[in-house]
Amino acid sequence: MTSQPMTFADDEAVRDLRLQLRRMIDEHLPAAFHGAFVNGRQGQDMADAFCRRLAEENLLTMSWPRAFGGADASVWEQTALREEMWAHHEPRGAQYMGLNWVGPAIMRFGTPAQREAHLAAIANGDSTWCQGFSEPEAGSDLASLRLRARPTGEGEWRLDGQKIWTSYASLAQWCFLTARTDNSGSKHHGITVFLVPMDRAGVTVREIDSMLGPHHLNEVFFDDVAVARAEILGELHRGWDVIRFVLAHERIGIARYARSERILSLLAEYLPGDDDPEADALRAVHARLMVKARTARLMNYRAIASTTTAEVPGGVSTARLTTTLLDQEVAALALEILGEEGLYDDDLAPLEAWAEEAWRYARSATIASGTSEVQRLLIARAMTGEGAR
């Protein structure tokens, strides 16, 4: 019999794309760029400018279907894009959410008017979205959300309640908001998704200072906020269908392993010399984590491939769990290798003061977008046949 040879290498198109992206990053972003939100407005401006450059090269929405102005990029081209962006501090800034899942959700569930209103703005890098999912009493248990949308007749609803941990809320023009419109059935029924402008009367954002840096965590309050039927995405009370689509679209998550690989590569230059008593121990950990980083990437590739081939039970959660734990181990190693210098965020700090920011951000790796506990629960359920992934 004949078969295609097994290969784990990038094909030519993916290799070329990586080179193009690295060239653009090199040309358009300063070495000290640590992400759109580390340095306030200046970082956001850089991210916006970079998004426009990507749009000019038809790379910003390359994952979108051609019918919506995308490039129908292959799953591996999309993967390479995610990897290169995350390895370089996600220079698309908050817009990655609009590109990755808000846009696709509007393509899938949106009315012609909603598509008209939002898709071009996202594709041009002109609109920033935040995700209004988590609430004080609804974190991992998303379906327990309480923010209420009250019908007033006249095809209008009034929103009352609070969202929390809402990243980029103070920067966003739009909120992809989940609200409770009906309490009569199961908790998964009666949820509705609204597309709400953040400047609407009654919306208040309060930033929460955190170790992650500015703009990462916010509270958003909705006080008698008017929303119209035309702002409902999908069907009334059927928002859980939309949420499931979004979660499936976000199933792989950000390519944290790519940043881990880049940090490990950069750290190699800082490993101690032969006469240092810590040299053997640190080199051993560094080498071990490089293997783990490679393995995490392969596990993510398996999860990505499982969208088109036989599914691996719990594979997505297994990949996420491995990747997030790796993120923390690599960040810890960076501080271990750099020592006191790794704590500093000034101009003299090694690695452009990247290590301390990576370490702070890594604290959230096993919490954001599904805690490690939830991932383990999903894996165990898949193993014992007790539920979906």
């Binding site: 295609q4 691996v312 165990a380």
Partner: protein, 317 residues
Amino acid sequence: MNRDWPADALAFEESVAASLRARGGIELTRACEADPSRRESELRPLIDSLGFAEIDFRAGEVEAAAAALGAKAAGQVVAPWPLVAQLAGATDGPGAVYLVDGAPRRAPHLDLVTGAVAVDLGDGSCRALEALGPVARMPLDPFGTPCRVGAVVDCPADAVAGHVVLSAFYVLGALETAIGLASAYSVERHQFGRAISSFGAVQWRLADLSGARSALAELAAFTLSRLIDGSATMADLWGLRLTMIEAAETVLADAHQVLGAIGLCEEHDVTVIDRHLQGVLRRPFGRAATNAALAERVAAEGFDLLYPVAPRAASAA
């Protein structure tokens, strides 16, 4: 990127697994441990009939994949046969390849093979390996055969690579069996009025079992592909071996915890798997030495990532 196994290799894996199951699976392993002569009388005809002797992992992708998946199927029942050592050998070279670190006192199943060689990972030498007597059964070394090394002989350059990669698949098979037993038991076993799989602490262990298995499965397939295309470095190989050891430590320890006392009984398959794997995990050396070897090879060769690490000498220059 194509991550699919060749159909012929998958068919071979199923054939090996079905044949071993038909002969009793791990029960046959248990019987061979009690009476090592049954390896010769019962396993040899089976191994011969499956065609392992005709498989050459150097002969291209399909045969390399068949060797790997055949080793995995054998590992599922910790088949008491020196399959990996034989597969790492060559039709026109050594009949079996053993990896050692210094002069070994014992080598598993050496009484079953002819033309065995020992590759010393310390000095790189390859020497004839000779059995000095019958198997001397010990709990953690059930088929260890007293041995000595002899004259320096030729050895194929890729024998070490083949041995390391195929061992990883053998261990992967064994771990998959242990995971299946632990997860099935977690559903069957009820305590405090419900299946123990419903307790968070047990779910945590099940998830870690799965993660360890997936890590080893993915890295083993990747490293095999590098072995096939000739790009596997020693750093790649020691990275795989380290992952194999860590996966086995996690799976065996956590499977025992899920199974509780029943898993410690000789009549339970996890006990047999656990004991029989220890030699594979310790020879030629264990976790710490493997990690040190990995670090040494990374310094010498670099390591291929999305952002590759250069060899230390080159990066320092």
